[in-house]
Symmetry: C2
Subunit: 214 residues, 2 copies
């Protein structure tokens, strides 16, 4: 088996999503990234052009398989009869959690990266994430509206935003309490990605079914 040599570009992307996921965009320096990636600082500007362009490339690479899987599931659902709310929620949540958490340690890094960037304090950074999931968003909204005809467009959008936000929070692992905190002794949902996805779907299905007024 030939050694799959990682290019400098790949190492930069790998380290970038790890570090950006830990400290956020502003809280992570290019020097910290390039040192960890065993690359020269100038390599960032050579391969990507700027710090923000590096982030953009990392977001695009991380979101690509998630978007592909979501599109595939939506196509499949719409090929059959009109999908139920639960089927639509599954088609959104599971690609975001399972596809990314199932493959060991590295998947958790990618998930945390996506979840953090989605709710970065800076609007400009959040928009980088939004731009990557933009086209599929209106498809979900339309499908949810058809599956929930009694709910107003505002209510559907409200539910969709809550779903998106909760997913991002679990991806970013920001909901796991501080190890030394007074509350529960940890392990809220970090045990098994599959179980987390199942719990989150159940939670959201109940909320969508009876929690969307007007």
């Amino acid at each position: 088996m030939e050694t799959p040599v990682e290019t400098t570009r790949e190492r930069l992307l790998n380290v970038a999503e790890q570090r950006f996921g830990e400290g956020g965009y502003e809280g992570t320096s290019l020097r910290a990234i390039t040192v960890a990636a065993a690359a020269n600082i100038a390599a960032v500007n050579y391969h990507f052009g700027s710090k923000e362009a590096l982030l953009r490339a990392a977001v695009a690479r991380a979101m690509a398989p998630v978007n592909t899987e979501r599109r595939r599931r939506l196509d499949q659902l719409e090929a059959g009869g009109p999908p139920t709310p639960e089927e639509l929620i599954r088609a959104f949540i599971e690609p975001g959690l399972e596809l990314v958490l199932r493959r060991g340690e590295r998947g958790a890094v990618v998930a945390r990266f996506i979840g953090r960037i989605a709710f970065d304090p800076s609007r400009r950074i959040r928009d980088l994430y939004a731009a990557e999931s933009d086209p599929i968003e209106s498809r979900y909204l339309a499908a949810l509206q058809r599956a929930l005809p009694q709910a107003s467009p505002d209510a559907v959008a409200f539910g969709y935003m809550n779903m998106l936000g909760l997913l991002a929070l679990h991806q970013s692992q920001a909901l796991s309490p501080t190890p030394g905190a007074a509350g529960s002794g940890g392990a809220v949902s970090t045990e098994d990605p599959g179980k987390l996805a199942e719990n989150l779907v159940t939670f959201l299905v109940a909320a969508f079914d009876r929690g969307l007024r007007t």
Copy 2:
């Protein structure tokens, strides 16, 4: 009416929660804060000691009335019969949204500040928020467990974390879409704080009632 002269310390706290709420901790410089507050840079270290201590003081001041109101509501609920899940959820959500959003423009700034800090990318910053709402958290968890005896402790903690996360996301206004985005044309929930609180409570009550397995 005598002029209520703002002290330098107060102006620093006011501007800090505004700027930290916009750009996050790492993305906001002390110089940006002190210029907007018409104060000298050294005033921060004189009155607070460091940038992080300024943030800590701002978080404490912003959370104080919310925590007080939550305690008051919990006391009142536990004085009567065993509270329902809806009553507990209201006692958590409404102090976080109404108490802070009802008083005009300034309340929205405080809410955004709290919501942003609660999910700052840096663990150390998030812990500053957690430390401020620490003692009341176990009270809520215990009360929720009593109100939902059929749910496991893990499930209750899962629901509580989702509630806390969704509240913070709405407080931070991170769920309002980009003005120019493809999705809904904005106004997901920004219309009226009271309506937002009502929608969020309804959403969460449904999720707690039928969405917590095991």
